[in-house]
Protein backbone atom coordinates (compact mmCIF):
# COMPACT_ATOMS: atom_id res chain seq x y z
CA UNK A 1 0.00 0.00 0.00
CA UNK A 2 1.37 3.36 -1.00
CA UNK A 3 2.26 5.71 1.82
CA UNK A 4 0.91 9.21 2.07
CA UNK A 5 3.26 12.04 1.21
CA UNK A 6 4.19 14.34 4.09
CA UNK A 7 4.98 17.36 1.98
CA UNK A 8 5.31 18.56 -1.61
CA UNK A 9 8.28 20.57 -2.73
CA UNK A 10 10.53 21.50 -5.61
CA UNK A 11 14.18 20.51 -5.63
CA UNK A 12 16.18 23.43 -6.96
CA UNK A 13 19.56 22.53 -8.44
CA UNK A 14 21.08 25.59 -10.09
CA UNK A 15 18.73 26.42 -12.96
CA UNK A 16 16.89 23.08 -12.81
CA UNK A 17 13.73 22.24 -10.87
CA UNK A 18 12.54 18.78 -9.89
CA UNK A 19 9.08 18.56 -8.29
CA UNK A 20 9.04 15.99 -5.49
CA UNK A 21 6.89 14.52 -2.76
CA UNK A 22 8.42 13.71 0.61
CA UNK A 23 7.68 10.47 2.48
CA UNK A 24 8.80 9.09 5.83
CA UNK A 25 11.45 6.41 5.26
CA UNK A 26 11.30 4.96 8.76
CA UNK A 27 8.48 3.69 10.88
CA UNK A 28 8.73 3.71 14.60
CA UNK A 29 7.98 0.29 16.04
CA UNK A 30 8.87 1.02 19.63
CA UNK A 31 6.18 0.07 22.11
CA UNK A 32 5.08 3.37 23.58
CA UNK A 33 3.85 3.80 27.10
CA UNK A 34 1.63 6.50 28.45
CA UNK A 35 1.63 7.60 32.04
CA UNK A 36 -1.64 6.57 33.65
CA UNK A 37 -3.31 7.11 36.95
CA UNK A 38 -2.76 3.79 38.70
CA UNK A 39 -6.21 3.77 40.33
CA UNK A 40 -8.26 4.33 37.18
CA UNK A 41 -5.85 3.33 34.38
CA UNK A 42 -6.91 6.57 32.69
CA UNK A 43 -4.53 9.02 31.07
CA UNK A 44 -3.42 11.86 33.26
CA UNK A 45 -3.35 15.58 32.67
CA UNK A 46 -0.46 17.95 33.06
CA UNK A 47 -0.67 21.37 34.66
CA UNK A 48 1.73 24.23 35.03
CA UNK A 49 1.92 25.26 38.64
CA UNK A 50 3.59 27.93 40.70
CA UNK A 51 6.00 25.90 42.84
CA UNK A 52 5.78 28.46 45.64
CA UNK A 53 2.01 28.40 46.10
CA UNK A 54 1.18 25.07 44.45
CA UNK A 55 -1.54 26.88 42.49
CA UNK A 56 -2.27 26.04 38.88
CA UNK A 57 -1.38 28.73 36.35
CA UNK A 58 -3.82 28.71 33.43
CA UNK A 59 -2.27 28.31 29.99
CA UNK A 60 -3.34 31.81 28.93
CA UNK A 61 -1.33 33.34 31.79
CA UNK A 62 1.87 31.39 31.09
CA UNK A 63 4.70 33.48 29.68
CA UNK A 64 7.81 32.24 27.96
CA UNK A 65 11.22 33.35 29.10
CA UNK A 66 14.84 32.76 28.28
CA UNK A 67 17.07 32.42 31.32
CA UNK A 68 20.11 34.63 30.76
CA UNK A 69 21.60 33.99 34.16
CA UNK A 70 20.28 32.05 37.14
CA UNK A 71 17.00 33.64 38.18
CA UNK A 72 17.02 36.31 35.44
CA UNK A 73 14.69 35.89 32.48
CA UNK A 74 14.03 37.84 29.32
CA UNK A 75 10.34 37.40 28.54
CA UNK A 76 9.41 36.88 24.90
CA UNK A 77 5.94 37.41 23.46
CA UNK A 78 4.33 34.98 21.04
CA UNK A 79 4.64 37.66 18.33
CA UNK A 80 8.35 38.03 18.98
CA UNK A 81 8.84 34.28 18.82
CA UNK A 82 6.80 34.08 15.63
CA UNK A 83 9.02 36.76 14.09
CA UNK A 84 11.91 34.29 14.35
CA UNK A 85 10.12 31.74 12.16
CA UNK A 86 11.70 31.29 8.74
CA UNK A 87 9.71 32.32 5.65
CA UNK A 88 7.56 29.42 4.50
CA UNK A 89 8.73 27.97 1.21
CA UNK A 90 8.24 24.90 -0.98
CA UNK A 91 11.80 24.91 -2.21
CA UNK A 92 14.52 22.43 -1.33
CA UNK A 93 17.67 24.26 -2.37
CA UNK A 94 20.77 22.21 -3.16
CA UNK A 95 23.74 24.45 -2.42
CA UNK A 96 26.53 22.09 -3.44
CA UNK A 97 27.51 18.52 -4.14
CA UNK A 98 30.03 16.72 -1.96
CA UNK A 99 31.84 13.42 -2.40
CA UNK A 100 29.95 10.64 -0.58
CA UNK A 101 31.40 10.33 2.92
CA UNK A 102 32.08 14.03 3.52
CA UNK A 103 28.87 14.14 5.57
CA UNK A 104 29.49 11.31 8.01
CA UNK A 105 26.68 9.49 9.78
CA UNK A 106 27.09 11.46 12.96
CA UNK A 107 25.09 14.19 11.22
CA UNK A 108 22.19 11.93 10.25
CA UNK A 109 18.97 12.63 12.07
CA UNK A 110 16.05 11.27 10.06
CA UNK A 111 15.69 9.92 6.53
CA UNK A 112 12.94 10.65 4.02
CA UNK A 113 12.23 9.30 0.57
CA UNK A 114 11.62 11.74 -2.22
CA UNK A 115 9.30 10.59 -4.96
CA UNK A 116 8.61 12.28 -8.30
CA UNK A 117 5.69 14.71 -8.32
CA UNK A 118 4.84 14.59 -12.03
CA UNK A 119 8.12 14.89 -13.88
CA UNK A 120 9.61 11.39 -13.65
CA UNK A 121 12.30 12.07 -16.24
CA UNK A 122 13.83 14.96 -14.28
CA UNK A 123 13.58 12.92 -11.06
CA UNK A 124 15.37 9.84 -12.40
CA UNK A 125 17.85 11.93 -14.39
CA UNK A 126 18.92 13.67 -11.17
CA UNK A 127 19.09 10.30 -9.35
CA UNK A 128 21.15 8.81 -12.18
CA UNK A 129 23.49 11.79 -12.34
CA UNK A 130 24.05 11.77 -8.55
CA UNK A 131 24.80 8.05 -8.67
CA UNK A 132 27.22 8.34 -11.58
CA UNK A 133 29.13 11.19 -9.92
CA UNK A 134 29.22 9.44 -6.50
CA UNK A 135 28.22 12.65 -4.82
CA UNK A 136 25.49 13.83 -2.49
CA UNK A 137 23.78 17.20 -2.42
CA UNK A 138 23.73 19.51 0.59
CA UNK A 139 20.09 20.59 0.91
CA UNK A 140 18.34 23.42 2.74
CA UNK A 141 14.61 23.83 3.17
CA UNK A 142 11.92 25.11 5.51
CA UNK A 143 9.36 22.61 6.77
CA UNK A 144 6.85 23.10 9.59
CA UNK A 145 8.37 26.48 10.48
CA UNK A 146 11.81 24.94 10.85
CA UNK A 147 14.91 25.64 8.82
CA UNK A 148 16.20 22.18 7.92
CA UNK A 149 19.43 20.91 6.45
CA UNK A 150 19.87 17.60 4.69
CA UNK A 151 21.87 15.27 2.50
CA UNK A 152 20.34 14.39 -0.88
CA UNK A 153 21.46 10.88 -1.78
CA UNK A 154 20.54 8.01 -4.04
CA UNK A 155 19.37 4.80 -2.42
CA UNK A 156 17.96 1.88 -4.35
CA UNK A 157 17.72 4.02 -7.48
CA UNK A 158 15.57 6.65 -5.77
CA UNK A 159 16.31 9.98 -4.14
CA UNK A 160 16.47 10.12 -0.37
CA UNK A 161 16.76 13.21 1.77
CA UNK A 162 18.42 12.69 5.13
CA UNK A 163 17.72 15.47 7.62
CA UNK A 164 20.95 16.46 9.36
CA UNK A 165 21.68 17.71 12.85
CA UNK A 166 22.85 21.27 13.35
CA UNK A 167 26.52 22.07 13.66
CA UNK A 168 26.04 22.88 17.37
CA UNK A 169 24.87 19.33 18.03
CA UNK A 170 27.61 17.37 16.32
CA UNK A 171 30.94 16.78 18.00
CA UNK A 172 33.62 17.12 15.35
CA UNK A 173 35.67 13.93 15.14
CA UNK A 174 38.36 15.92 13.34
CA UNK A 175 39.06 17.93 16.48
CA UNK A 176 39.73 14.86 18.58
CA UNK A 177 43.30 13.79 19.19
CA UNK A 178 44.28 10.47 17.65
CA UNK A 179 44.63 7.43 19.87
CA UNK A 180 48.35 6.78 20.00
CA UNK A 181 50.61 4.29 21.60
CA UNK A 182 53.54 2.14 20.64
CA UNK A 183 53.75 1.52 16.89
CA UNK A 184 51.61 -1.43 15.89
CA UNK A 185 53.37 -4.77 15.56
CA UNK A 186 53.24 -5.88 11.89
CA UNK A 187 52.62 -9.48 12.97
CA UNK A 188 49.63 -8.45 15.06
CA UNK A 189 48.39 -6.21 12.30
CA UNK A 190 48.55 -9.05 9.78
CA UNK A 191 46.72 -11.45 12.10
CA UNK A 192 44.07 -8.84 12.84
CA UNK A 193 43.65 -8.31 9.09
CA UNK A 194 43.24 -12.06 8.58
CA UNK A 195 40.77 -12.27 11.41
CA UNK A 196 38.62 -9.47 9.98
CA UNK A 197 38.85 -11.16 6.57
CA UNK A 198 37.55 -14.49 7.94
CA UNK A 199 34.62 -12.69 9.57
CA UNK A 200 33.77 -10.80 6.40
CA UNK A 201 30.31 -11.10 4.99
CA UNK A 202 27.35 -9.35 3.48
CA UNK A 203 25.31 -6.87 5.45
CA UNK A 204 21.99 -8.65 5.80
CA UNK A 205 19.80 -6.45 8.02
CA UNK A 206 17.15 -9.18 8.18
CA UNK A 207 19.55 -11.32 10.25
CA UNK A 208 19.05 -9.02 13.21
CA UNK A 209 15.89 -8.67 15.17
CA UNK A 210 15.00 -6.46 18.10
CA UNK A 211 14.46 -9.23 20.64
CA UNK A 212 13.68 -6.87 23.47
CA UNK A 213 10.96 -5.10 21.52
CA UNK A 214 9.46 -8.47 20.60
CA UNK A 215 9.43 -9.48 24.27
CA UNK A 216 7.74 -6.23 25.32
CA UNK A 217 5.11 -6.77 22.62
CA UNK A 218 4.55 -10.34 23.83
CA UNK A 219 4.21 -9.10 27.39
CA UNK A 220 1.61 -6.50 26.45
CA UNK A 221 -0.32 -9.01 24.30
CA UNK A 222 -0.28 -11.64 27.07
CA UNK A 223 -1.49 -9.16 29.66
CA UNK A 224 -4.21 -7.96 27.31
CA UNK A 225 -5.42 -11.59 27.22
CA UNK A 226 -5.19 -11.67 31.03
CA UNK A 227 -2.48 -14.31 30.90
CA UNK A 228 0.49 -14.48 33.18
CA UNK A 229 3.40 -13.48 30.98
CA UNK A 230 6.57 -15.50 30.77
CA UNK A 231 9.60 -13.40 31.74
CA UNK A 232 12.96 -14.78 30.75
CA UNK A 233 16.52 -13.49 31.05
CA UNK A 234 19.84 -14.05 28.95
CA UNK A 235 24.32 -14.10 28.73
CA UNK A 236 28.18 -14.49 29.34
CA UNK A 237 31.75 -13.13 28.95
CA UNK A 238 35.32 -14.28 28.38
CA UNK A 239 38.82 -14.14 29.90
CA UNK A 240 41.76 -12.12 28.46
CA UNK A 241 44.96 -13.61 27.00
CA UNK A 242 48.04 -12.16 25.29
CA UNK A 243 47.02 -10.14 22.24
CA UNK A 244 49.15 -12.01 19.68
CA UNK A 245 48.14 -15.41 21.01
CA UNK A 246 44.49 -14.39 21.12
CA UNK A 247 44.61 -13.13 17.55
CA UNK A 248 46.19 -16.35 16.33
CA UNK A 249 43.60 -18.50 18.13
CA UNK A 250 40.80 -16.30 16.82
CA UNK A 251 41.91 -16.66 13.21
CA UNK A 252 42.19 -20.42 13.70
CA UNK A 253 38.76 -20.85 15.25
CA UNK A 254 37.09 -18.46 12.79
CA UNK A 255 38.55 -20.49 9.90
CA UNK A 256 37.38 -23.74 11.44
CA UNK A 257 33.88 -22.38 11.88
CA UNK A 258 33.85 -21.14 8.32
CA UNK A 259 35.11 -24.52 7.09
CA UNK A 260 32.48 -26.37 9.11
CA UNK A 261 29.76 -24.09 7.78
CA UNK A 262 30.84 -24.78 4.21
CA UNK A 263 31.33 -28.52 4.65
Amino acid sequence: MAARAIWRAVLRVGSASVPVKLYAAVQDRTVHFDLLEARTLARIKQQMTDPGTGEEVPTAAVRKGYEVEPGTFVVLSDAELASLDPEPSREIRISRFLPIGQINHQWYERPYYLGPDGDEVAYFALAGALGSREREGLAHWVMRKRQCHGALRVHDGRLVLIALRNVEEVLAAGELPAVRGRPLDPKELELARQLVATLEGEFRPGDFRDEYRARVQELVAAKARHERPRLRPVKTRRPPRSLLDTLARSVESARQRRGAARG
Binding site: A3, A38, A173
Partner: protein
Protein backbone atom coordinates in the same frame (compact mmCIF):
# COMPACT_ATOMS: atom_id res chain seq x y z
CA UNK B 1 23.71 33.49 25.64
CA UNK B 2 25.80 33.40 28.78
CA UNK B 3 25.87 29.64 28.72
CA UNK B 4 29.62 29.64 28.78
CA UNK B 5 29.56 31.07 32.30
CA UNK B 6 29.55 27.66 33.84
CA UNK B 7 30.92 26.48 37.09
CA UNK B 8 33.40 23.62 37.12
CA UNK B 9 31.54 20.96 35.17
CA UNK B 10 30.91 17.61 36.76
CA UNK B 11 33.23 15.02 35.25
CA UNK B 12 30.95 13.05 32.95
CA UNK B 13 31.01 9.33 33.23
CA UNK B 14 30.86 7.32 30.07
CA UNK B 15 27.43 6.60 28.72
CA UNK B 16 28.25 2.92 28.64
CA UNK B 17 31.36 0.92 29.45
CA UNK B 18 32.11 -2.47 28.08
CA UNK B 19 34.15 -4.55 25.74
CA UNK B 20 34.29 -4.91 21.99
CA UNK B 21 35.20 -8.46 21.13
CA UNK B 22 36.30 -9.71 17.74
CA UNK B 23 37.32 -13.31 17.63
CA UNK B 24 38.75 -13.89 21.10
CA UNK B 25 40.27 -10.39 21.34
CA UNK B 26 38.76 -7.99 23.87
CA UNK B 27 38.91 -4.22 23.47
CA UNK B 28 37.71 -2.43 26.61
CA UNK B 29 35.96 0.81 25.70
CA UNK B 30 33.94 3.68 27.08
CA UNK B 31 31.14 5.07 24.98
CA UNK B 32 30.24 8.77 24.75
CA UNK B 33 27.48 10.39 22.68
CA UNK B 34 28.83 12.04 19.52
CA UNK B 35 26.10 14.66 19.59
CA UNK B 36 24.69 17.00 22.18
CA UNK B 37 21.51 19.01 22.59
CA UNK B 38 21.78 22.16 20.53
CA UNK B 39 18.46 23.91 20.79
CA UNK B 40 18.06 26.44 23.57
CA UNK B 41 14.85 25.86 25.44
CA UNK B 42 12.48 28.46 26.76
CA UNK B 43 11.10 28.31 30.28
CA UNK B 44 7.48 28.59 31.22
CA UNK B 45 6.97 31.49 33.63
CA UNK B 46 4.02 32.65 35.72
CA UNK B 47 2.49 36.14 35.35
CA UNK B 48 5.01 37.48 37.88
CA UNK B 49 7.95 35.73 36.22
CA UNK B 50 8.26 32.77 38.57
CA UNK B 51 9.50 29.67 36.73
CA UNK B 52 6.67 27.18 36.71
CA UNK B 53 6.73 23.50 37.46
CA UNK B 54 4.86 20.81 35.58
CA UNK B 55 2.52 18.66 37.63
CA UNK B 56 0.49 15.58 36.86
CA UNK B 57 -3.12 15.60 37.92
CA UNK B 58 -5.93 13.09 37.70
CA UNK B 59 -8.05 13.67 34.58
CA UNK B 60 -11.06 12.61 36.61
CA UNK B 61 -10.71 14.47 39.90
CA UNK B 62 -8.01 17.06 39.16
CA UNK B 63 -6.12 15.82 42.21
CA UNK B 64 -2.31 16.16 42.00
CA UNK B 65 -0.61 12.80 41.49
CA UNK B 66 2.67 11.68 43.01
CA UNK B 67 5.00 9.04 41.59
CA UNK B 68 3.21 6.35 43.62
CA UNK B 69 -0.09 7.21 41.89
CA UNK B 70 1.32 6.65 38.41
CA UNK B 71 1.76 3.58 36.28
CA UNK B 72 2.86 3.10 32.71
CA UNK B 73 0.50 1.57 30.21
CA UNK B 74 0.53 0.46 26.60
CA UNK B 75 -2.56 1.32 24.60
CA UNK B 76 -4.43 -1.57 23.05
CA UNK B 77 -7.56 -1.24 20.93
CA UNK B 78 -10.17 1.35 21.73
CA UNK B 79 -8.36 3.50 24.25
CA UNK B 80 -7.91 0.53 26.61
CA UNK B 81 -4.64 0.35 28.45
CA UNK B 82 -2.55 -2.55 29.71
CA UNK B 83 -0.51 -1.44 32.72
CA UNK B 84 3.11 -2.52 32.66
CA UNK B 85 5.29 -2.20 35.72
CA UNK B 86 8.94 -1.17 35.80
CA UNK B 87 9.70 -4.50 37.40
CA UNK B 88 8.22 -6.41 34.48
CA UNK B 89 10.17 -4.37 31.98
CA UNK B 90 13.35 -4.86 33.95
CA UNK B 91 12.85 -8.62 33.92
CA UNK B 92 12.29 -8.58 30.16
CA UNK B 93 15.41 -6.55 29.52
CA UNK B 94 18.29 -8.58 28.20
CA UNK B 95 20.76 -9.35 30.95
CA UNK B 96 23.35 -6.61 31.19
CA UNK B 97 26.03 -7.77 28.83
CA UNK B 98 29.22 -5.79 28.65
CA UNK B 99 30.11 -7.09 25.20
CA UNK B 100 29.80 -5.74 21.70
CA UNK B 101 30.62 -8.94 19.87
CA UNK B 102 31.70 -8.21 16.30
CA UNK B 103 30.75 -11.41 14.51
CA UNK B 104 30.62 -9.95 11.05
CA UNK B 105 32.58 -7.34 9.15
CA UNK B 106 30.93 -5.76 6.12
CA UNK B 107 31.87 -3.09 3.61
CA UNK B 108 31.25 0.16 5.44
CA UNK B 109 29.56 1.53 2.32
CA UNK B 110 27.13 -1.41 2.26
CA UNK B 111 25.27 -0.28 5.36
CA UNK B 112 22.24 1.57 3.95
CA UNK B 113 22.19 5.28 4.75
CA UNK B 114 18.61 4.98 6.00
CA UNK B 115 19.73 2.70 8.84
CA UNK B 116 21.91 5.13 10.80
CA UNK B 117 20.26 6.41 13.92
CA UNK B 118 22.72 7.83 16.44
CA UNK B 119 26.50 8.02 16.84
CA UNK B 120 28.75 7.44 19.83
CA UNK B 121 32.51 7.75 20.17
CA UNK B 122 34.36 4.81 21.63
CA UNK B 123 37.35 5.68 23.78
CA UNK B 124 39.86 3.04 24.88
CA UNK B 125 39.51 2.05 28.53
CA UNK B 126 41.73 -0.13 30.65
CA UNK B 127 45.47 -0.39 30.69
CA UNK B 128 46.37 -0.70 27.03
CA UNK B 129 45.02 0.89 23.86
CA UNK B 130 46.89 -1.56 21.63
CA UNK B 131 43.97 -3.80 20.70
CA UNK B 132 41.87 -0.66 20.12
CA UNK B 133 44.43 0.79 17.74
CA UNK B 134 44.81 -2.51 15.97
CA UNK B 135 41.08 -2.87 15.35
CA UNK B 136 40.77 0.77 14.25
CA UNK B 137 43.74 0.47 11.87
CA UNK B 138 42.54 -2.72 10.22
CA UNK B 139 38.96 -1.53 9.85
CA UNK B 140 39.95 1.84 8.48
CA UNK B 141 42.38 0.40 5.94
CA UNK B 142 39.94 -2.21 4.71
CA UNK B 143 36.94 0.19 4.89
CA UNK B 144 35.00 -2.31 6.92
CA UNK B 145 32.33 -1.87 9.54
CA UNK B 146 31.82 -4.41 12.31
CA UNK B 147 28.20 -5.35 12.96
CA UNK B 148 26.89 -6.45 16.34
CA UNK B 149 23.97 -6.21 18.69
CA UNK B 150 24.49 -5.01 22.23
CA UNK B 151 22.53 -4.02 25.30
CA UNK B 152 22.56 -0.51 26.71
CA UNK B 153 20.17 0.77 29.36
CA UNK B 154 17.94 -2.25 29.15
CA UNK B 155 17.46 -1.99 25.40
CA UNK B 156 19.00 -3.95 22.61
CA UNK B 157 20.74 -2.05 19.82
CA UNK B 158 21.97 -3.06 16.41
CA UNK B 159 25.23 -1.27 15.89
CA UNK B 160 27.89 -0.66 13.25
CA UNK B 161 31.40 0.01 14.53
CA UNK B 162 33.34 2.26 12.17
CA UNK B 163 36.86 3.65 12.31
CA UNK B 164 37.77 7.17 11.23
CA UNK B 165 41.14 8.82 11.84
CA UNK B 166 42.04 6.06 14.25
CA UNK B 167 38.95 6.64 16.39
CA UNK B 168 36.22 4.04 16.69
CA UNK B 169 32.63 5.14 16.46
CA UNK B 170 29.53 3.12 17.25
CA UNK B 171 26.52 3.97 15.10
CA UNK B 172 23.25 2.52 16.27
CA UNK B 173 21.23 1.22 13.33
CA UNK B 174 17.51 0.89 12.79
CA UNK B 175 16.29 -2.67 12.58
CA UNK B 176 15.20 -3.88 9.14
CA UNK B 177 11.49 -3.71 9.99
CA UNK B 178 11.79 -0.04 10.94
CA UNK B 179 12.95 0.98 7.45
CA UNK B 180 10.54 1.28 4.56
CA UNK B 181 11.43 0.12 1.08
CA UNK B 182 10.65 2.20 -2.02
CA UNK B 183 7.89 -0.34 -2.71
CA UNK B 184 6.39 0.18 0.79
CA UNK B 185 6.21 3.87 0.05
CA UNK B 186 4.87 3.28 -3.46
CA UNK B 187 7.69 4.94 -5.38
CA UNK B 188 7.72 4.21 -9.11
CA UNK B 189 10.34 1.96 -10.68
CA UNK B 190 13.22 3.80 -12.30
CA UNK B 191 12.52 4.84 -15.87
CA UNK B 192 15.04 5.17 -18.66
CA UNK B 193 15.94 8.80 -19.11
CA UNK B 194 17.25 10.54 -22.24
CA UNK B 195 21.03 10.94 -22.25
CA UNK B 196 20.63 14.71 -22.59
CA UNK B 197 18.64 14.94 -19.33
CA UNK B 198 21.26 12.89 -17.51
CA UNK B 199 24.08 15.06 -18.90
CA UNK B 200 22.28 18.23 -17.87
CA UNK B 201 22.20 17.12 -14.21
CA UNK B 202 25.75 15.78 -14.33
CA UNK B 203 26.86 19.20 -15.55
CA UNK B 204 24.94 20.95 -12.75
CA UNK B 205 26.53 18.62 -10.19
CA UNK B 206 29.99 19.35 -11.55
CA UNK B 207 29.34 23.10 -11.48
CA UNK B 208 28.23 22.98 -7.86
CA UNK B 209 30.79 20.45 -6.66
CA UNK B 210 32.70 21.10 -3.44
CA UNK B 211 35.26 18.96 -1.65
CA UNK B 212 34.51 19.53 2.01
CA UNK B 213 31.37 20.00 4.08
CA UNK B 214 30.85 23.72 4.76
CA UNK B 215 29.94 23.42 8.43
CA UNK B 216 28.69 27.01 8.63
CA UNK B 217 25.80 26.05 6.32
CA UNK B 218 24.52 23.75 9.06
CA UNK B 219 24.12 26.37 11.78
CA UNK B 220 20.93 26.54 13.80
CA UNK B 221 19.78 29.92 12.56
CA UNK B 222 16.70 30.08 14.71
CA UNK B 223 18.61 29.59 17.96
CA UNK B 224 21.07 32.24 16.86
CA UNK B 225 18.26 34.66 16.03
CA UNK B 226 16.65 33.92 19.40
CA UNK B 227 19.92 34.64 21.19
CA UNK B 228 20.29 37.96 19.35
CA UNK B 229 16.73 38.98 20.19
CA UNK B 230 17.27 38.09 23.84
CA UNK B 231 20.51 40.08 24.00
CA UNK B 232 18.88 43.12 22.39
CA UNK B 233 16.05 43.09 24.90
CA UNK B 234 18.39 42.50 27.78
CA UNK B 235 20.59 45.45 26.76
CA UNK B 236 17.49 47.67 26.69
CA UNK B 237 16.37 46.14 29.99
CA UNK B 238 13.10 45.31 28.31
CA UNK B 239 10.93 42.52 29.77
CA UNK B 240 13.76 41.44 32.04
CA UNK B 241 12.56 39.71 35.20
CA UNK B 242 14.78 38.94 38.14
CA UNK B 243 13.54 36.31 40.55
CA UNK B 244 15.01 34.49 43.50
CA UNK B 245 14.03 31.24 41.91
CA UNK B 246 16.30 29.92 39.27
CA UNK B 247 14.58 27.65 36.79
CA UNK B 248 17.26 25.22 37.86
CA UNK B 249 17.61 23.78 34.41
CA UNK B 250 20.93 22.31 35.30
CA UNK B 251 22.44 24.41 32.53
CA UNK B 252 25.30 25.37 34.80
CA UNK B 253 26.33 21.76 34.84
CA UNK B 254 25.87 21.04 31.20
CA UNK B 255 28.78 18.94 30.40
CA UNK B 256 31.10 19.70 27.58
CA UNK B 257 31.53 16.20 26.26
CA UNK B 258 34.00 17.40 23.66
CA UNK B 259 36.53 18.55 26.23
CA UNK B 260 36.12 15.31 28.12
CA UNK B 261 36.75 13.26 25.01
CA UNK B 262 39.83 15.29 24.18
CA UNK B 263 41.17 14.83 27.70
CA UNK B 264 40.57 11.10 27.68
CA UNK B 265 42.03 10.45 24.26
CA UNK B 266 45.06 12.58 25.10
CA UNK B 267 45.47 10.55 28.28
CA UNK B 268 45.67 7.30 26.33
CA UNK B 269 48.46 8.78 24.19
CA UNK B 270 50.41 9.94 27.27
CA UNK B 271 50.04 6.62 29.05
CA UNK B 272 51.22 4.68 26.05
CA UNK B 273 54.12 7.04 25.38
CA UNK B 274 55.49 6.87 28.89
CA UNK B 275 54.94 3.14 29.01
CA UNK B 276 53.18 3.56 32.29
CA UNK B 277 50.67 0.99 33.37
CA UNK B 278 47.76 2.38 35.19
CA UNK B 279 45.05 0.01 36.37
CA UNK B 280 41.97 1.96 35.48
CA UNK B 281 39.68 -0.65 34.01
CA UNK B 282 36.39 0.16 32.40
CA UNK B 283 34.49 2.58 34.54
CA UNK B 284 31.38 1.37 36.21
CA UNK B 285 28.30 3.40 35.65
CA UNK B 286 25.53 3.47 38.18
CA UNK B 287 27.28 5.02 41.13
CA UNK B 288 26.04 8.22 42.68
CA UNK B 289 27.75 11.30 41.30
CA UNK B 290 29.06 14.33 43.12
CA UNK B 291 26.31 16.13 45.05
CA UNK B 292 24.23 12.99 45.14
CA UNK B 293 21.20 14.41 46.88
CA UNK B 294 20.78 17.32 44.47
CA UNK B 295 18.89 15.51 41.77
CA UNK B 296 16.03 14.50 44.06
CA UNK B 297 15.29 18.13 44.76
CA UNK B 298 14.82 18.98 41.09
CA UNK B 299 11.46 18.89 39.36
CA UNK B 300 10.79 16.37 36.62
CA UNK B 301 10.92 19.22 34.09
CA UNK B 302 14.37 20.26 35.31
CA UNK B 303 15.54 16.65 35.24
CA UNK B 304 14.10 16.28 31.77
CA UNK B 305 16.07 19.33 30.58
CA UNK B 306 19.19 17.86 32.03
CA UNK B 307 18.55 14.50 30.38
CA UNK B 308 17.99 16.34 27.12
CA UNK B 309 21.27 18.21 27.48
CA UNK B 310 22.96 14.86 28.02
CA UNK B 311 21.20 13.38 25.00
CA UNK B 312 19.71 10.50 27.02
CA UNK B 313 17.49 8.40 24.80
CA UNK B 314 13.99 7.49 25.94
CA UNK B 315 13.88 10.43 28.35
CA UNK B 316 10.38 11.58 27.47
CA UNK B 317 8.85 8.35 28.71
CA UNK B 318 10.86 8.32 31.94
CA UNK B 319 9.41 8.99 35.34
CA UNK B 320 11.23 11.27 37.76
CA UNK B 321 12.91 8.31 39.44
CA UNK B 322 14.02 6.90 36.13
CA UNK B 323 15.37 10.26 35.01
CA UNK B 324 17.40 10.53 38.20
CA UNK B 325 18.77 7.05 37.71
CA UNK B 326 19.62 7.65 34.04
CA UNK B 327 21.33 10.97 34.77
CA UNK B 328 23.27 9.37 37.62
CA UNK B 329 24.63 6.80 35.23
CA UNK B 330 26.26 9.40 33.05
CA UNK B 331 26.72 12.57 35.05
Amino acid sequence: VAESEVSEPAAPRPFWSGTITFGLVSVPVNLFPASRAGRASLRMLGPDGVPLARRYVSAETGRPLGPEDLVRGAEIDGGQYVPVTDDELERLAPEKSRDIDLRRFVDAAAVPPLAFERAYFLVPAGTSSRAYQLLAAVMERSRKAGIATFVMRGKEYLVAILAERGILRAETLRFADEIRSPADVGLPDPVKVPAAALRRFQKLIDEHAADALPREELRDQRTEALARLVERKRARNEDVIRTDASADTGRAEVIDIMSVLKRRLAATARDAGAGRRRQTGPERPGRAPRAAGDLERLSRAALYDRAKALGLPGRSAMTKTELIRAIREVA
